[in-house]
Symmetry: D2
Subunit: 303 residues, 4 copies
Amino acid sequence: MKLQGIIPPVVTPLTDDHEFDEVSYERLLNRMIDAGVDGLFVLGSSSEVVFSTDERRREIIEAAIRITDGRVPVMVGVIDTATPRVIEHIRVAEELGADAVVATAPFYAIIGQKEVERHFRLLHAATDLPIFAYDLPQCVHIKLQGDMLVRLGSEGVLAGVKDSSGDDVGFRFLSIDNEQLGHPLQLFTGHEVVVDGAYLSGADGAVPGLANVNPDLYVQQWKAFKEGDWDRVRELQTQEARLMRITSVTEGETGFAAGVGAFKTALNLMGIFDSPQMPEPILPLDAKNREAIAKVLKEEGML
Amino acid sequence: MKLQGIIPPVVTPLTDDHEFDEVSYERLLNRMIDAGVDGLFVLGSSSEVVFSTDERRREIIEAAIRITDGRVPVMVGVIDTATPRVIEHIRVAEELGADAVVATAPFYAIIGQKEVERHFRLLHAATDLPIFAYDLPQCVHIKLQGDMLVRLGSEGVLAGVKDSSGDDVGFRFLSIDNEQLGHPLQLFTGHEVVVDGAYLSGADGAVPGLANVNPDLYVQQWKAFKEGDWDRVRELQTQEARLMRITSVTEGETGFAAGVGAFKTALNLMGIFDSPQMPEPILPLDAKNREAIAKVLKEEGML
Amino acid sequence: MKLQGIIPPVVTPLTDDHEFDEVSYERLLNRMIDAGVDGLFVLGSSSEVVFSTDERRREIIEAAIRITDGRVPVMVGVIDTATPRVIEHIRVAEELGADAVVATAPFYAIIGQKEVERHFRLLHAATDLPIFAYDLPQCVHIKLQGDMLVRLGSEGVLAGVKDSSGDDVGFRFLSIDNEQLGHPLQLFTGHEVVVDGAYLSGADGAVPGLANVNPDLYVQQWKAFKEGDWDRVRELQTQEARLMRITSVTEGETGFAAGVGAFKTALNLMGIFDSPQMPEPILPLDAKNREAIAKVLKEEGML
Amino acid sequence: MKLQGIIPPVVTPLTDDHEFDEVSYERLLNRMIDAGVDGLFVLGSSSEVVFSTDERRREIIEAAIRITDGRVPVMVGVIDTATPRVIEHIRVAEELGADAVVATAPFYAIIGQKEVERHFRLLHAATDLPIFAYDLPQCVHIKLQGDMLVRLGSEGVLAGVKDSSGDDVGFRFLSIDNEQLGHPLQLFTGHEVVVDGAYLSGADGAVPGLANVNPDLYVQQWKAFKEGDWDRVRELQTQEARLMRITSVTEGETGFAAGVGAFKTALNLMGIFDSPQMPEPILPLDAKNREAIAKVLKEEGML
């Protein structure tokens, strides 16, 4: 199984009192699967994985596996601070039926590249599941080196990379190196508004958070790319970028609150989520920001 | 209870096969308590908290409480990525008998100061234990603002601050503000080689990792400070700084591997730890680095 | 005059004793103009502008204007720490016949966005020459905000942007905003290995340092883009990326020494520069690095 | 001549129309010399050196030399982007009678430690004046390594260091290393509110911008330190820290505008400067911020 295409990182709905809202979750997943996505990525950064207790993580995986019911592969994030904790999450993912796991480098403790490499090797020694390396230096505070990634790919340690590093130059070199070695790694971009550039660079697909709000655009864009219709690819990219403004029209919010807050608010406005509730210590976006998001959704024909 | 004085962040010994080594731990704790430390801080950064599974964390707390047996207060780190997970660690700390807990801001997800403030308020609402804020932007990637800290102190949300931010200017302002409000916060520095400057700035004590290797120096320095003997304070500071070179004489290592690696290697060389084992994915320091550390220990009369 | 297409930032040859080597310069410029570049950018970062005295800067502009002789427009960098110094450089550029000037935000002193905006307004008030904003946060340590750039563009303060910020997401939004306002800004990318992605994003051209070494690739790629031949655009991008490895095969060098050092060494190996000399305090690349670069050049058919 | 004690970095007064205000400058310098400072540092960061044209720099040095008239030594900043430009400034400093020069590492272009070291060696080869290295990574974006500094000190390349790096741990190690080699470097701290900690660490003096506003506090503190009266040293430090709040009570300003803006506004309020004018593109602080500063000055008995 080589994963490719559109694999959205699934946002996690909460009830107003911070319980997992499985009904909304089912609506969200079915809508994306019906739109034709090629897989789902649960417990990624946008899924509020680091805000979720181990019990909550388990709830989410179980629901995703049950709802998906084999229609598309399910990748599961096993994100935690260091190897021993990550391996525990891998055990749960294995038990519950994940198709692949996604792991970052260790974080919080300051480490070097040799420890990052050993980390991935230890994860591989611990599981038969395909492992995707998640490159997200804004959160993890270390960049995964391209030469390390292709080495681990060609040795069978890694199955692929989800690149959200914001480093398009690095991604290009990674892609060229990967090609020279026979394409051992499946490469995905996590940047919603430059998916087209990533396809030019050789990406095997995208993991766009915005596909929670509009999966169609990304599915159509992937098809256009496969057909070599670059005008259509660009046109859809512009539509995606315009819709992505839901994450920047808000005021007084930064980072996770602005980004995932906008996704949840949009999904709530569109009737897919019953509540825009955010995980503690984040509050849902206020009325004014909600209005600003509604305005963008209307302009883009989503409301 | 107002904590003050020398409260070392306790390094965690492992066996060669990565089990918790309670025998070495007992030697370490008794040596520090016998030297006259005023408390112990377990499950801090130097205690490899983020490398430890929940089960390992529990083992460590239980051992610390059992060994300490009320001789000195035990502060317990409840370090995790966000509020819901931190509250789970607080529950364990309460259950096992901690005297206080130490929490960082949330990390990994990018958040703002208002979320950090809400985080500490939610922790306080969840427990009666005194809460110490841990300021460590090198790992947490956000600086705790001084005005927020004193506000939370004067409202009874926080009992104190462990400052390892490397920002001596900020610490001075924090100390002056705290004084003006009647000293609601107990302030501790985590920087081994400028403890004297922190005392001048108004610190109520220190949390020096190096005190694992030589607790006497810090206990004597605290006494000299209380007696107003600044020449002695400085003299001891110079000795501490010279000993601290065990963390910089190594080659090819950075961050946690260099720092805690040096502490563990020194404790092993001195016969206090049976093994210099490090948590995965970190390897113990190699023979050459071990020699370099032994040389410093000899020069400083520790071997 | 709307600048567009390929406008290489011209590398500055030095003699072994650190004089400006006008003979090599003439070879370099003529070769690029003959290849069909659309303009030249002198005194940019790659032109060692910040290593050049005011007298040296003048020598370089004079030579560029003389050699170019109106065949293509000449953009002149007026890079310095703050407004009054930049305006002095603008005066010289005007006097010597520049077609446009390129300015960064102020640097060294820490300032905010409002001061950056005022800076560009003051520059515009001081000259009739078209002003291009140079976005290079790796050197300038402040990112030019997209909304400020398009505002200054629509008011006629700025004629365009040279984006070397490494932020492809920001560039996409800048391009879309610029389009909505009627395209007041001409947008150029400075990133050699993702020029294709920038074209997809709406760039009006590229300012690739690597075009000093091989201008043909970039000129052909621009033509392919104008003809909508994306397969050819990508194919040329891969060739460019492979050639760009001259900047990463070196060992023991970073930043300017690795990048411009590689360009100068390649130009020297190819017989265009008489010497690979670097400006003080940088030394030319050593024999081993020179060999590594020669190897890449041979593989890419440049030697 | 071994420089030591209090050497304020002199703020530069401007007239409302951005000319150098030599009358105010004379008032400022005489007031500091009368207060007993041990030297003056002109054309440092706080002197708006990077906002000043070469002609303005010359005006300032000439005025400083004329006014000082040998009463105290004058250190002159020769701050520019790279070696050839810095050497030109050194020539002017020599010509006009400076007693020492102060140089940073090169900035803007990204370089490594070996180039920094070569830079200082080239400066030393170019002049007989004592050279002080200025460590200011917030502006220069590279940290001067302690081992390099003491090596250059023991070889006679550097006469001393002005440390404004905000790294008190590094300063302590620098001081201890310097002592072991026989104290070749004179070490100064630039951090106004932790001068006492720097004295404990072994500093030979301070270069506090705040001494422009109140030179007495720093002169008295230096005397108290020389007499071993640490209680007095601390007491004065608290007064200095309280006065330093003029730089943080402002709203909507950052960096240079907040810091030097506050100094100029205070000096204007106190009648020492005729105008609070700031160099372009910075505006003087607004009325509300001016009031906030006046309030602090009154509380501290300066108005």
